[in-house]
């Protein structure tokens, strides 16, 4: 098994024990990228020379004791909407084709302070708007399990890079499911933390009140360890929260006895593929067998989450993306006459159709005469959804359900019907609207061999509950591979 087959913590331990050097780890990652990129296309930017230079520095730092952490020397892929100083950051948009930030996102700064090696920047839906990574201006990313399928989105590049073992772990961002849904589609583990846990400074905003950065890795232990490093109170982000309880790895306990798990009945209605439903319920039964108290309940308001989400996210996005005007940085049209023509042409040529659709939608719902009917109503819905979750969490420690209604769709299927694509976000967006933490991990494979994800949702600041439940479930998962996963055939968890 190569170095990239190891989990981040396994590789980190080997580097710490001087069995492997940071340079060897980086080379293994670069080689894997070289070998697989033609097929997968997870990355938008990989600067080989800079990576090797950084790896040498980190190795020296490990030797002289500067870097003592668990992740020192371990290669990480970073979603291309996180600013990296001196390294092109495009948001997979033509608009930012040659944009080189002057500063690094706080989450990445936190990782680098622990000796992480940023191996490259990953593909995504343009400005994180999409569920398939097909809206990228730089080509699609393919699902490593089946190249005819999408990896999901918007953090599709990060999830595919982890699944294809091109890197040890990755960072993604999640506004309406952008870490969790592609994690499900790619058979990897991802956490969307409680809003405010990870600083958004340096994350190019999509929906500011919903965006959170989170880890994507091979297993729950990696995710907990990475989250521990990237979570920080940051004075530069007013919405970041000072948290005392950041020792997420302490929750890696294989014990769910007495844990109360609720399954929303409303999550299992029409639209959910039977394969996914069965795999998720099988996972619930395993947790029950381990001593968790599992019951079904009515969450309510589930059908309102998607419309409320799209109104709020697009309203914020329309405003957040106004700064891309060709004046100071980014794409500017070649030919124009006067200011307004420059704005119009630069934005028309710089943005792709999905981004334009959401800017239009956002501008519409905020415009005078429609604000109350759409935006304000969406905010009220958001508050009601939060209340429904509050009620649920007064009874349960964890809410269990699917991450997406189906496994990964085929390439080219989704964008033809955007509304249908939006409805695919039904299980993820409410978590963002309520600011809750959610984890997705593999729980089976469908008849096509594509992964199915299990989603565990916790109350605000209760990451430990979902990490514990996920870890306990993960310990049982060996059985999955032997064939009792949902409706899938005998399926090993690693790609071969």
């Amino acid at each position: 098994m190569g170095l990239m087959s190891l989990t981040a913590l396994e590789l980190g331990r080997k580097i710490k024990a001087r069995e492997v050097s940071a340079v060897e780890a980086a080379v293994a990652s670069l080689d894997a990228i070289q070998e697989k990129e033609k097929e997968i296309h997870s990355f938008l930017t990989v600067d080989k020379a800079a990576v090797l230079k950084r790896a040498e520095e980190v190795q020296r730092g490990i030797e002289d004791g500067t870097f003592k952490g668990m992740l020192a020397g371990v290669p990480v892929a970073v979603k291309d909407n996180l600013c990296t100083k001196g390294m092109r950051t495009t948001c997979a948009s033509r608009m930012l084709k040659d944009f080189i930030p002057t500063y690094t996102a706080e989450a990445v700064v936190n990782l680098e302070a622990q000796g992480a090696i940023v191996i490259g920047k990953t593909n995504m839906d343009e400005f994180a708007m999409g569920s398939t990574t097909e809206t990228s201006a730089y080509g699609v990313t393919r699902n490593p399990w089946n190249h005819a399928h999408v990896p999901g989105g918007s953090s599709g590049g990060s999830c595919a890079a982890v699944a294809a073992e091109e890197c040890s772990y990755a960072l993604g961002s999640d506004t309406g499911g952008s870490i969790r849904q592609p994690s499900a589609f790619c058979g990897v583990t991802g956490i969307k933390p409680t809003y405010g846990t990870v600083s958004r400074y340096g994350l190019i905003a999509y929906g500011s009140s919903l965006d959170q950065i989170g880890p994507i890795a091979k297993d729950v232990s990696d995710c907990a360890a990475i989250l521990e490093v990237i979570a920080s109170y940051d004075v530069k982000d007013s919405t970041s929260v000072h948290r005392e309880d950041k020792r997420f790895t302490e929750a890696l306990i294989d014990d769910v006895r007495g844990m109360r798990i609720g399954i929303p009945r409303d999550y299992f209605g029409g639209g959910l593929s039977s394969c996914v439903g069965e795999a998720v319920l099988a996972a619930a039964r395993k947790l029950e067998k381990k001593g968790a108290v599992v019951e079904e309940f009515d969450l309510s308001l589930v059908e309102y989450a998607v419309p409320a989400y799209y109104v709020i996210a697009c309203a914020e996005a329309g405003s957040n993306l106004a700064r891309f005007d060709g004046v100071r940085y980014g794409y500017r049209a070649g030919q124009y006459e006067g200011l307004h023509d420059m704005y119009q042409k630069s934005r028309s040529e710089g943005f792709g159709p999905e981004v334009k659709r959401r800017i239009m939608l956002g501008s519409f719902v905020l415009s005078s005469g429609y604000y109350d009917a759409y935006y304000l109503k969406a905010l009220r819905t958001k508050a009601l959804i939060k209340k429904a979750f509050d009620k649920a969490f007064s009874k349960y420690d964890v809410i269990l359900g699917p991450a997406a209604p189906t496994s990964a769709p085929r390439l080219g299927e989704s964008l033809r019907d955007p509304v249908r694509m939006y409805l695919g976000d039904i299980y993820t967006v409410s978590v963002n609207l309520a600011g809750l933490p959610g984890i997705v991990l593999p729980c089976g494979r469908d008849s096509n061999g594509l992964p199915i994800g299990l989603q565990l949702i916790g109350d605000c600041f209760k990451e430990k509950n979902i990490i514990r439940a996920a870890y306990a479930y993960e310990q049982t998962r060996g059985n999955c591979a032997k064939g009792d996963s949902g409706c899938g055939a005998a399926a090993p968890w690693r790609l071969e």
Binding site: G202, A205, S238, T239, R323, V327, R328, L339, S368
Partner: protein, 487 residues
């Protein structure tokens, strides 16, 4: 036709002018409202900038608490209600001086509401209502290079904190508007919240004006006038706009709701934009900032820290320093005068003398040099020394005025200067007698006149002697010596 009055009579109709103001005030914080960049005026273009105030992707605003404190101080001093849970909103519009293409402002929950200030009018005191005060960020500046046919943006001012004070439509004349602005400026300067310089743009007023027939209850259609950089421009613009609107009505035309720009050189205005092409700003709550919760303790702390305001200071000057009400009013009528008065009095202990020097020579020189009190650059220390030198008679009044001008312009040390230039009053009787004797010898005619009973002739002889002494003599002493010699 009475210019500037509250009522305007035309064709037997009496018109009333209704005015409300939107006043923007740049706050005196050292750093910008949402980042740590300097707010200093001037500076090389784009030298006071960072990712936040240039709207770089991924940057986030962080509220400067001092901005809230200044806004609270102004709100409390203008009798406003404080919004305990206030919030910022985004105002969306595209313009290159606005780096994010939205301005962070307050629409739904402004920090202060429902206040007012009292102004003096010819018919007595009048309260001008304040509808609200809100906090917001300033934009950058566009420089148009006509030679190259390009525009260049300077973001130094982008993110400088502003408060916008929105009055009720309670003013009826240019005089009331000026009185209101002067009152606001006085309050804000006393609070140290801003220097309120109209010419540098740290205080900017937009005038909303409409006219209606006397007795009419409904307001007429209003226009908004921008680009008013001095009190004079404001007064001229108000009169110009009132006349324009009455003219339209008299011609049977309608006033159109629009924003107009005043050109003070041409003394006329032109349309910037009409209501039809008014933008939809698509305001919504700023998601990058958390709401500001203002506690009782915070308000109490600000209230406790509020400085002595003008009315109390004026009363104290009369009581503590025994100044006449007239002096106290002038000194407290400008914070810079009051500060100078207190500092100099503290040093030399001569309140009335200090007051006289401020009300006399200081104001005269300010006028002569076309300066405003905030532009005074001399130190209270040198000013106090000068007052003392004059008061103890170490220099004559004439010399003192000359020396003061030096202090006023270049803040010289009066002791050193008087010493160096040999300007001390000569009280050596022998020297004065010698000079007087020479003057008597050189002016036989005047001597004869004096001896012949023309008392006034002594004045000429005193003048000549003073001249011979280069002004450094006490004229009373010179007169006594001359009289003695001629008796």
């Amino acid at each position: 036709m009475r210019r500037g009055g509250a009522m305007e009579v035309r064709m037997n109709k009496i018109y009333e002018t209704v005015i409300g103001l939107e006043v923007h005030v740049e706050l005196a914080t050292k750093t910008k409202i949402f980042c740590a960049c300097s707010t200093a005026f001037g500076g090389a273009p784009n030298s006071h900038t960072c990712p936040v105030c240039t709207g770089m992707p991924g940057s986030l605003p962080v509220l400067n608490r001092q901005v809230v404190e200044y806004a609270l101080a102004v709100g409390l001093a203008t009798d406003c209600e404080i919004t305990r849970y206030c919030r910022f909103d985004r105002k969306n519009y595209f313009y290159p001086d606005n780096p994010q293409n939205y301005q962070i402002s307050q629409l739904y929950l402004p920090i202060c509401k429902n206040g007012g200030v009292w102004i003096e009018t010819p018919s007595g005191k009048k309260r001008i209502g304040i509808h609200e005060i809100h906090m917001e960020e300033d934009a950058g500046k566009l420089v148009h290079d006509e030679w190259e046919d390009v525009s260049i943006v300077d973001y130094n001012r982008s993110g400088v904190p502003l408060i916008e004070i929105v009055s009720e439509p309670d003013m009826r004349s240019a005089e009331e508007v000026i009185a209101y602005l002067e009152k606001l400026r006085l309050i804000i300067q006393y609070l140290g919240a801003s220097d309120c310089r109209l010419n540098e743009g740290s205080m900017r007023a937009d005038v909303n004006l409409s006219v209606r027939e006397e007795g009419e209850e409904a307001f007429g259609t209003r226009t908004e006038m921008k680009n008013l950089n001095s009190f004079k421009a404001i007064a001229r613009a108000i009169e110009g706009e009132r006349d324009r609107q009455i003219g339209l009505i008299e011609e049977g035309k309608k006033v159109i709701q629009e924003t107009r720009r005043w050109d003070d050189n041409k003394e006329s205005s032109y349309v910037m934009r009409s209501k039809e092409d008014a933008q939809d700003y698509r305001y919504f709550p700023e998601p990058d900032l958390v709401p500001v919760e203002i506690s009782d303790e915070w308000i109490a702390r600000i209230r406790k820290r509020q400085p002595e305001m003008q009315p109390e200071k004026m009363a104290r000057y009369q009581k503590e320093y025994g100044l006449p009400a007239y002096d106290a009013a002038i000194l407290t009528g400008d914070k810079h005068f009051a500060d100078l008065f207190e500092a100099a009095t503290e040093l030399c202990g001569r309140p009335k003398k200090v007051s006289n020097w401020i009300m006399g020579e200081t104001i005269r020189l300010l006028k002569e040099h076309g300066m405003t009190p905030d532009e005074m650059r001399f130190s209270p220390k040198n000013f106090a020394k000068l007052v003392e030198l004059a008061d103890i008679g170490a220099v004559t009044n004439t010399v003192a005025k000359e020396v003061f001008e030096k202090v006023f312009l270049t803040d010289i040390d009066p002791d050193g200067y008087v010493e160096e230039m040999g300007l001390k009053t000569v009280s050596d009787e022998a020297a004065l007698t010698a000079a007087a004797e020479r003057v008597i010898a050189e002016n036989p005619q005047s001597v004869a006149d004096y001896r012949g009973g023309k008392e006034k002739a002594i004045g000429f002889l005193v003048g000549q002697t003073m001249r011979a002494m280069k002004g450094k003599a006490d004229p009373g002493l010179v007169s006594r010596i001359l009289k003695k010699l001629l008796s």
